[in-house]
């Protein structure tokens, strides 16, 4: 059984990654807490903690009256309700999106991971108090979604498709488990369990039960996690029920929403039973959250039919629906996967959260089978689309991560309304920033997984891990030069005669070009992109030198608009050109062949980064006469002026104001 390494046993001390996690700890988590409490004057109000308090008050009133909670009669007020002015908010009303509770859960999840790495009593006290408020809102029967507690329980679970109660439950579980694992405190965990127990009691295919499933998936993987932490079969059963019931005839969402009858519900991945699904479709975040749950189930149950579906869905994404940046979601319509190979650069959706979900899915597939095909993409998504989601100062965020931006079009073309040329402070629907926070604070559990005797290294970052093998602690220390260079040292201590196996990913971006030193006399073999080293007889320093030289990358010709265009990568980083370095008109620049790329290390972004300069020509067709319109000229001759196209890592884009940006270039 392969599992993520307990993040308490991973100590990351890496120039690159520690900066990111520190940013989350010092900037994002405190800022987000202020947001949850509506203390940021110029950001969209959240009302998240307000809602928990309002529900708690309602609860308390009932208890004081000495009778069971009697909810008001439910009235629908809209998918998101905000008061005209902050001060007009009523104490006993629900505000915000109807899934606003989940903002707390994502925050507490990130807090848990952060506390696991960096104990912080002040933060822990804040969190404990927040947990008290949240738990106060829970109904005696275990139900805990403030939207219905406040607005009327008579309609709870009456709109599974659009009202996110099961989604909120899923996030609550994830947050509660994280906090429990970090602190050992189980108050929130127990609240989450009671909510899950309540749900387990009313959902199912049996007569009289609700035979539906989540409109926005996440509960599936959360319940498997809860099962793995508590050992309680009922959570696993509930998760399995959700997964297997999804898409079964008669379709539950069609019963809820008869107007959608007969239209395949790709958006919610409810168009057919999940075991039969082979193509990744619909809302990209929902999809990869579902697939993550399916992968958990395949691993836990050993169900090969489900595994086949997971593998097919993975390949569908990896081979036909993945941006070079690790982004997914080719269309903003439904924030969804488009058809295979439809990966437009300028109208991409490529939501930060979707890449995060893809990383969830990848880690779970790696738990089933350590194969570079999963970790290569996990790394790609992390270093590019996910990191791009947050500004260098941790204070603004991208939801959408386009591969080409013309600021004027974002401002003036409604078709690109979703594409922002600069990161936004905080959104009313704040999914991405807290998702970045919970991923980055737990990045160690993506870098490493372990089985009984093996430590799998999927991502390279300077860190220390303690792994127990045959009752002995093996110490592994990694020193990684990535992203500046490709040199990685792994120090293994205390492994002699333990049967310890070190599995090191050989990144796909090396094209198999790497050197290894220090493994002399050990048993080594390469399988599915991992170098397995065993037979440790003494402490060792194993040195890997990966070829991280820059390379030009082209897309499958079926990616229509990337034809005759190429991108540049170096190691896991995709590069882009910005107007700040190259002026306007990036589309008129053509890379020169044979390609000549020069590298230089820079600290101008406040981090060690490698800039690339690639020889190019700026093309303009001139000299010919215009006819009819000044827009069109008969081609006469072409003026080509030599230039160095200056490239920076994609994740650093838009940290110097608004301007053109592009990943692909003509060649």
């Amino acid at each position: 059984m392969i599992r993520p390494v307990d993040i308490k046993r991973v100590k990351i001390d890496d120039r690159f990654w520690s900066r990111e996690t520190e940013l989350v700890r010092k900037e994002v988590i405190p800022y987000q807490w202020d947001i949850l409490n509506d203390r940021v004057p110029d950001a969209a109000p959240s009302f998240c903690m307000h809602n928990f308090k309002a529900a708690g008050n309602l609860n308390r009133k009932m208890r004081t009256l000495g009778r069971d909670y009697e909810a008001p009669k439910y009235t629908y007020r809209g998918f998101a309700v905000f008061p005209e002015r902050r001060e007009e908010a009523k104490d006993d009303e629900f505000y915000g999106f109807l899934f606003q509770d989940s903002d707390f859960s994502k925050w507490i999840e990130a807090v848990g991971y952060s506390l696991a790495a960096y104990p912080d009593p002040v933060l822990e006290e804040t969190a404990d108090k927040a947990i008290d408020i949240v738990c106060d809102a829970q109904l005696p029967n275990g139900y805990l979604d403030t939207y219905y507690i406040i607005n009327g329980m008579d309609k709870s679970f009456s709109d599974l498709r659009d009202h996110h109660e099961l989604y909120c439950m899923g996030h609550l579980i994830e947050g509660a488990v994280s906090y429990y694992q970090a602190t050992g405190k189980d108050k929130l965990l127990n609240a989450a369990r009671r909510f899950a127990d309540y749900v387990a009691g009313i959902f199912g295919t049996e007569e009289g039960r609700i035979n539906g499933y989540p409109g926005h998936e996440i509960a599936e993987m959360a319940l498997f996690r809860l099962y793995e932490v508590t050992g309680e079969e009922r959570y696993r059963n509930l998760a399995e029920y959700f997964i297997d019931q999804r898409g079964q005839e008669p379709l539950y969402f069609e019963k809820e929403h008869p107007d959608m009858k007969g239209k395949p519900d790709y958006y919610h991945q409810a168009h057919m039973p999940v075991r039969k699904q082979r193509e990744a479709v619909g809302h990209a975040v929902r999809a990869v959250y579902l697939y993550s749950g399916m992968a958990d189930m395949a691993r836990i149950t050993g169900d090969t039919e489900l595994l086949t579906a997971c593998e097919a869905l993975w390949d569908s994404i990896a081979d036909t629906k993945l941006y070079i940046t690790g982004g997914i979601g080719g269309t903003h319509i439904g924030e969804a996967f488009s058809f295979p190979y439809d990966l437009p650069n300028d109208t991409a959706y490529s939501e930060t959260c979707a890449s995060i979900g893809l990383i969830f899915f990848a880690r779970r597939m790696l738990q089933i089978k350590p194969d570079r095909k999963y970790s290569d993409i996990m790394e790609l998504a992390l270093y590019n689309c996910v990191l791009s989601g947050m500004a260098l100062d941790g204070k603004s965020f991208f939801y959408v991560n386009p591969l080409e931006v013309l600021p004027e079009a974002c401002a003036k073309d409604e078709r690109k309304e979703h594409v922002k040329p600069v990161r936004q402070k905080w959104f009313g629907c704040a999914c991405c920033p807290p998702n970045i926070a919970r991923l980055l604070t737990s990045v160690g559990s993506y870098a490493y997984t372990e089985s009984e005797d093996t430590l799998f290294t999927h991502l390279y970052m300077s860190s220390k891990i303690t792994k127990s093998v045959s009752g002995r602690d093996v110490g592994i220390r990694v020193e990684s030069g990535i992203p500046v260079n490709g040199e990685v040292s792994v120090f293994v201590e205390g492994a002699a005669d333990t049967g310890f196996v070190l599995a090191l990913r050989i990144p796909g971006w090396t094209s198999g070009k790497y050197e290894i030193k220090g493994a002399e006399g050990l048993e080594t073999s390469v399988r599915d992109g991992y170098l397995y080293i065993s037979g440790f007889d003494s402490d060792r320093e194993i040195r890997l030198m990966f070829d991280i030289s820059p390379r030009v990358v082209v897309s499958d010709p079926r990616v229509n608009e990337d034809n005759l265009r190429a991108a540049v990568m170096r190691g896991p980083f995709v590069y882009c050109a910005e107007e700040a370095d190259n002026g306007k008109g990036l589309r008129s620049i053509r890379l020169k062949r044979p390609f000549e790329i020069r590298q230089s290390v820079t600290d101008e972004f406040g981090i060690d980064a490698v800039r690339l300069d690639i020889s190019a020509v700026r093309v303009s067709a001139t000299g010919g006469e215009a006819f009819a319109s000044r827009l069109y000229k008969t081609f006469d001759r072409m003026s080509e002026s030599e230039t160095d196209l200056k490239l920076i890592p994609y994740f650093l884009w838009s940290n110097r104001g608004e301007g053109e940006m592009s990943v692909f270039f003509g060649y």
Copy 2:
């Protein structure tokens, strides 16, 4: 004063154009009549004649009862109402779009032009009977829009922005004038006049009048036409009122629709007074219809301020918002102009009707000032975007004329839902087919305009024109080799000593390369792209040999996605590549430099057409290793296979089934 030549004095006998007009006469007009009467089982029902009959019955009933018409109380039933099944339609109800009346008007307009060229007693009888039905529907006060006559007159003219009464009036006038000019019959003309009289009586800035204007322009140019035919000042005054009132504060449409308050109404060109407008914005058809009316007014009144606006709006289109095909409307959102230089090829709207409207605008600008800048674009739009709108058999139509098509994307990508890879039979909202019909049947009035002594030749087609100069008839006969070759002969008879001036457009696409023979001894001069020939002393044959050799054309670099790409033209024709000739993957084909183009005449489309073959390479980057995803490969070497890219005139595309198509190619 320059005016279009009376089409009764133009006899077109041209291999290319006669086929088009015959198609309209033999296919489109009869088919459309069947549509108007809902006799085409597999096409969307029109209910156009049904509505006129229903209104007529209502009228008759009132007259029988011996009292004034009492309308039912108005109830809004939707922008378009269709019965579930054709046979469930009630005799006394209105169906279809609320501007359905205009379908008759466009049809009768085309019928008029067609009768002017080809007398056809059977068609004329059909038309007379239709006119009887239409006139029967008119209220005693002159009002004639069946939507309100049937649904309730209490709300007539209460929603000028969205309900198309004034639009229907405009089309009715255009149709009535055409029919009157062709046949001399004035029954419909009188009905149109009475409707216009009624409108003139209730619209205006005076107290108690409606101080609004059309939500969909056309009445403006129609009323000027009615004025020029009847000499009645009140029609001209009404048109001038509509034009000058548009966009005046307080904005009329904001009064009607307070929810739009404060949002600039670009869509209806009502964001500011028209004299101040400088950028073409909003719904493209509406825009060019308005500008056409403005040009009429500038010409008739000599108003230089208005002329300045017209010139600026023309330049805004010509120099920043025009597709190389003469299409306009860069975005389907609002079927509208996008921002300057935003001319996406694959998501283009480029509606056939908008190009037709652009031709209206161009002809009117030519009446003010004969300048090739107008006629070059008129020709471009006609030969490409407009002709593309109709299939070779005249039985199916494009509304949207994209410059690049990937059929799979049209089917699967909602962002390209408006783009169809094959022409459609008939639409419920059938604007384009009848618009093509009325343009093609009157093409002579775009080919030629005249002043007292001058005949202006804007388009070249074999035809005979009789022009009266100094009381004598001058005969002009044109023999045109276009589109097959660039040879044009103009025979002038009876011009000696009349003072006759022949103005021949030297097309911009010649880049000034042409030869002239037969003008020896005559006075010639070139002004604004026209060759003026005068001093005729005898009958003459003047021969022009225009350089029609194919050429490669590039876009202004500000047209973002055309950078590093080029198109091919020959004479006025834009060329495209189709999958039928070149297989899939048009995006991976790169034109070779220096460009080598071979021409060949073909009759495979049933017409004389010139095919072009251009040397190209099909590029695939191969050999490199895929990493992470099969989608992306490290560039190793490029495989270039030589190919001849086979091109056909753009207007011929999609006559051989569904497939990829592209106008621009990498080079």
